[in-house]
């Protein structure tokens, strides 16, 4: 048999069906009319029949089998018009469904299209254009305005403004120059860069995001799992019911109609289409939601717990004051920097960067070091043992800091973190470090409250006064300070027991255990941070923490959309069933309503793609804002 595309089958069977309908109305059931109807049935029915047979071989009864039985039955009892109309409508529905369903996946497709297609590499002094997959690690890649950066890498030459929308969903260009990192898939708007390839192909952040979005769309929602189980028993049950109905009433048309209208198409499709549209919308806005179940849970969150450093704050603390005791300021900074070279702590990085800025590169290495997680570290340098860290580190080691308490307290009241440097004998000095609160943190807290999440807490390893200062600035009323990583886990489980579903928001680097132990782990600024992207359930790819509010709204809209679809599908099924039993719904009309209901469900899901488009992403409408004001 000749091969026709779905579109051609629909077109030809449509013309035949229309012609036979006209003939039926004008001349009635003449031979030619019946012939045309049978031709329609055969052309439109052949693919359905083939699929049904293929499935039957593996003892699977699907919608194709139901339609095949119904159509065969209709032809046998001489209902040629019904047979033609049902097969045509079924094929038309199938065709339109695959076209529209494609649309619900369009956001994700759009993301795929952002993948870089070419790379210009400079090898042995000459520039050649190659496929991005052929770039090797360490290659120097040249990128000019309008071009996509094909690798994750470090800038070695030039400077440029880059649009990182592919990664973060944020299209305001950012500036990048020598020694800074850039991501594959981002576009240079102006300027020129030579980038050393650090990660290529499937290892790039962009490729991994794509992979995660692709995987996420098929991680099923709970509702979906239930509906699938339901439909597995539903179809065979309907066949048995139809047979029973036929035996009881001896009415074959009635039994066949029941077969056709009972297809659970709209119900089964109701959830996955909403989820895929929701996840696609998120991906477009730099929010990675890893699956249907997470999408369902995000909107139902009762408590949001924030990590402080790097989440509510920018996470790049800097040294604000150095107070040496019995040594020079430079000497204190030098010792502290050498010690901190062993730690990964953000406070340590601040000390090192200040020290190198002031004293030039520090080349000394320490002889021995031990980290006390959450407290600080001990290290040996030039034969002497030093401690660097918080009060607890010193009191635990029997070193008194009492003489400096009033100075430290006055610093801490200003929101500074006081890092103590000392030896076994006493304090050598105190370094004050402060971090700035993200500009959008306060409005995020307001937005979340206006969305009905009243329990917003902050967890930090930092001291109580620094925590209080940040909490005050962001409007968070409940905070827990001086927590070790395991304390955070404990506090989280306590909050969950009392209030319900809890989301932990962190930068995903220092707080992986907390992210993993909460109901939902949300990582901020995830692009480029592998652990964050892997462990978190929701990743805000940009540094814009305010997107969290958008994510919660999107989740709720998705769940709402899903519910609308399910209720609609159930109502249609009930209406059809009643109609069939009352004999007001015939075979072809039943099929028409069924196909239309499937299409409406898909179209409803497509609406989700537009969520957040009319208003600025992440903002709350003015009406909601007022309610927030009252609450405060």
């Amino acid at each position: 048999m000749m091969k026709m595309t779905k579109g051609q089958i629909v077109l030809i069977s449509g013309i035949l069906a229309a012609a036979s309908f006209v003939l039926k109305e004008m001349i009635g059931y003449e031979k030619i009319t019946i012939l045309l109807m049978l031709a329609t049935t055969v052309i439109a029915g052949a693919p359905v029949f083939r699929k049904a047979m293929g499935a039957l071989r593996y003892r699977i009864v699907g919608i194709d089998a139901l339609v095949t039985i119904a159509v065969t039955g209709a032809v046998i009892i001489g209902e040629y018009w019904e047979a033609a109309a049902v097969t045509f409508l079924f094929m038309l529905g199938d065709y339109l469904e695959s076209r529209t369903i494609e649309k619900t996946r369009s956001s994700i497709k759009a993301l795929l299209d952002m993948a870089p297609e070419k790379a210009k590499v400079r090898r042995n002094g000459t520039e050649t254009e190659i496929n991005p997959e052929d770039v090797v690690k360490g290659d120097f890649v040249v990128v000019r305005p309008g071009e996509k950066i094909p690798v994750d890498g470090t800038v070695v030459e030039g400077s440029a403004y880059i649009n990182q929308a592919a990664i973060t969903g944020e299209s305001i260009p950012i500036s990048r120059s020598v020694d800074e990192t850039v991501f594959s898939g981002t576009v240079i708007e102006s300027g020129y860069l030579v980038v050393r390839a650090d990660r290529i192909g499937e290892d790039t952040t962009f490729a991994r995001i794509l992979q995660m979005v692709e995987d996420a769309q098929d991680k099923k929602a709970k509702t979906q799992k239930f509906l699938e189980k339901f439909s597995r028993y539903y179809t065979p049950a309907i066949i048995i019911l139809s047979i029973a109905l036929f035996l009881a009433t001896n009415d074959l048309v009635l039994a066949l109609t029941l077969l056709v209208i009972a297809c659970p198409g709209a119900l089964v499709i109701s959830t996955p289409v909403s989820i895929v549209a929701g996840i696609g919308n998120g991906a477009k806005h730099g929010i990675l939601v890893k699956g249907g179940e997470i999408m369902e849970k995000l909107g139902a969150v009762k408590v949001v717990a924030f990590d402080k450093t790097g989440t509510l704050t920018v996470g790049k603390p800097s040294v604000t004051r150095v107070e040496p005791v019995g040594m020079s300021e430079d000497e204190l900074l030098r010792i502290a920097a050498v010690g901190e070279s062993y730690s990964e702590h953000p406070l340590g990085k601040a000390i090192i960067s200040t020290a190198t800025k002031k004293l030039g590169p520090i080349n000394e290495t320490l002889e021995d070091a031990e980290i006390f997680s959450g407290h600080g570290l001990r290290f040996s340098l030039g034969g002497k043992t030093y401690f660097i860290g918080n009060r607890k580190l010193f009191t635990d080691n029997g070193i008194s800091v009492d003489g400096h308490e009033s100075y430290m307290q006055s610093e801490e009241r200003k929101g500074q973190t006081a890092v103590i440097v000392g030896t076994g004998e006493g304090v050598c000095g105190i370094i004050s470090i402060a971090d700035t609160v993200r500009s959008d943190a306060r409005s995020l807290v307001l937005d979340l409250e206006s969305r009905g999440i009243s329990r917003i807490v902050m967890l930090t390893g930092d001291n109580g006064r620094a925590a209080e200062a940040i909490a005050g600035e962001t409007g968070i009323r409940e905070f827990y300070s001086e927590l070790l990583p395991e304390d955070k886990v404990r506090v989280l489980s306590g909050l969950r027991e009392r209030y319900g579903i809890i989301a932990m928001v962190g930068d995903g680097v220092n707080d992986a255990p907390a992210l993993a132990s909460s109901d939902l782990g949300i990582a901020v600024g995830g692009a480029g941070k592998d652990i964050a992207m892997e462990t978190a359930d929701v990743v805000l790819l940009s540094e814009e923490i305010k997107k969290l509010s958008y994510a919660v709204g999107l989740s709720r809209a998705t769940v709402r959309n899903m519910k609308q679809n399910i209720i609609f599908a159930l109502l249609v099924a009930a209406f059809l069933l009643a109609g069939v039993l009352a004999k007001t719904v015939n075979l072809s009309f039943g099929m028409l309503v069924h196909e239309v209901s499937v299409l409406l469900v898909i179209l409803n899901a497509i609406r989700l793609l537009g969520y957040g488009e009319s208003k600025k992403p992440g903002t709350v409408q003015s009406g909601e804002r007022e309610i927030a004001g009252e609450k405060l």
């Binding site: 699929k51 499935a55 699907g62 996946r105 699938e228 439909s231 089964v268």
Partner: protein, 71 residues
């Protein structure tokens, strides 16, 4: 054990999934299979000595679903 993913043309009805999954379950040499509705992909883990990737591909196509690519 070999791990392969087949990209199908857009799968529009969830009942197709049950069909493909059922078929793969009844095919010898396949230790696990998963049909992903939204991305229209089929992930199969199979024993290369019992069944070939070509055979799996042919079986999926015989059910009426075109395989666009595999990797």
């Amino acid at each position: 054990m070999t791990n392969r993913t087949y990209q199908l043309e857009t799968v529009s009805c969830p009942s197709c999934i049950a069909k493909i999954e059922g078929m793969l379950k009844k095919t010898g040499g396949i230790s696990s299979s998963e049909v992903l509705f939204n991305s229209s992909r089929v992930k199969v883990i199979f024993d290369e000595s019992a069944v070939t990737s070509e055979e799996i591909r042919a079986k999926i196509e015989k059910l009426g679903y075109k395989v666009l690519s595999d990797k």
